[in-house]
Amino acid sequence: MERDDIIEYSLHSHHSAEEGVKLRKKIYFVTALLSVITIIEVLVGVFISRSANEGTGLWEAIKMGYIVLTLIKAGYIVLVFMHLGDERKYFKWMILIPYILFLLYLIFIALNEAIAVGEGMKL
């Protein structure tokens, strides 16, 4: 049965061939970026090993670098590949803000507790 009170949002999501060319360009750019970041991460992981460098300032810096690179990759995947960046502002924040807030809190509390647990049960 046809209903005229429902807006078929999905029917409005079509785009032309020219727009498609532009979009594909963007996709290929993100592909190259993700690949390059992964290659950098692996090279650093292989040549500056954790086992040899753990505890040093260098390793702490590399760790931070890894986290930053991962967040960049995640951002591109979510905003471009999953098109969250193209959705309405309120939808984007409805998805991202609660998750990020909760997870930051969880990371903070769990890692702090872990250190306390480890100290308390030292052999």
């Binding site: 992981g45 090993s49 086992s51 590949f81 193209d86 959705e87 309405r88 939808f91």
Partner: protein, 248 residues
């Protein structure tokens, strides 16, 4: 890109009822809500890994270094640290790209291209799953297929990661060091692998529908977009697993 969502509509109209203020269909919103909940599960697992590691290190246990554990590559006995995991990561990224290309083709109602890219995505997922089977069996039995038990995992034994503390001359293989490392390996990559498996099944079903012309008749390829969201999410999770399990 997402058409309706990028249209300028007055807030009064947008939030005035009778329409979705987000300009997204019900199914797509629900997929996003599901992905947020799933992301919380994976977030919990990875934070759990962080908890175990921080507790183990302050307790005096060494946490195995992944570049010393994952050094094998199929068909060769060369020492190639992290290379196979890097290959798996690359496969997943590429299959994510083929998926986004399928979604893009869907917006142009290009049935042939959608089917082509979606089929490649299924193949990429299958390669990743196969790689994971190899990775697991190598982790359990070692590259030569040595039989090992849970407690003396061949891969972990071959690599020097011994716990820092000893008791009565025996190194303690407790739950804190290598054992916990192995458990987190199986749990996190296993849970992720199960998602990949489900994703491959979904993609395959949608591919069949595409070939049958279901979405051509419907007038839009939003189903491809929905399974696409799920598939990208799997790639997204792997990006974090790769960093926090294998690299850091």
């Amino acid at each position: 890109m997402s058409g309706e969502a990028s249209k300028a509509i007055e807030p009064k109209v947008l939030w005035g009822g009778g329409r979705s203020p987000f300009s997204i269909s019900y199914g797509k919103i629900m997929m996003w809500i599901f992905l947020v909940s799933d992301a919380l599960t994976f977030g919990g697992l990875l934070v759990g890994l962080g908890f175990a590691r921080h507790a183990a290190v302050t307790k005096g246990f060494a946490w195995p270094s992944s570049e010393q554990v994952f050094t094998h590559f199929p068909f060769t006995h060369e020492h190639l640290p992290l290379l196979y995991v890097a290959f798996m990561t690359f496969i997943l990224i590429i299959s994510s790209v083929t998926m986004v290309l399928a979604v893009e083709a869907g917006h142009r109602m290009d049935k042939k291209k959608v089917a082509f890219w979606l089929a490649l995505t299924v193949v990429g997922g299958a390669i990743f799953l196969g790689s994971q089977v190899w990775e697991w069996s190598t982790f359990i039995a070692g590259p030569d297929g040595d039989i090992s038990t849970w407690a003396d995992n061949a891969t972990l034994k071959q690599n020097f990661f011994l716990p820092l503390s000893t008791e009565g001359g025996h190194a303690i293989l407790g739950m804190e060091g290598p054992q916990a490392y192995a458990m987190f390996f199986f749990f996190i990559t296993g849970f992720h692998g199960f998602h990949v498996f489900t994703g491959v099944v979904f993609n395959f079903i949608i591919l069949m529908n595409v070939l049958a012309g279901t979405y051509e008749k419907r007038g839009h390829y939003e189903m491809v977009e929905k399974v696409g969201l799920y598939w990208h999410f799997i790639d997204l999770v792997w990006v974090f697993v790769f960093t926090f399990y294998y690299l850091v």
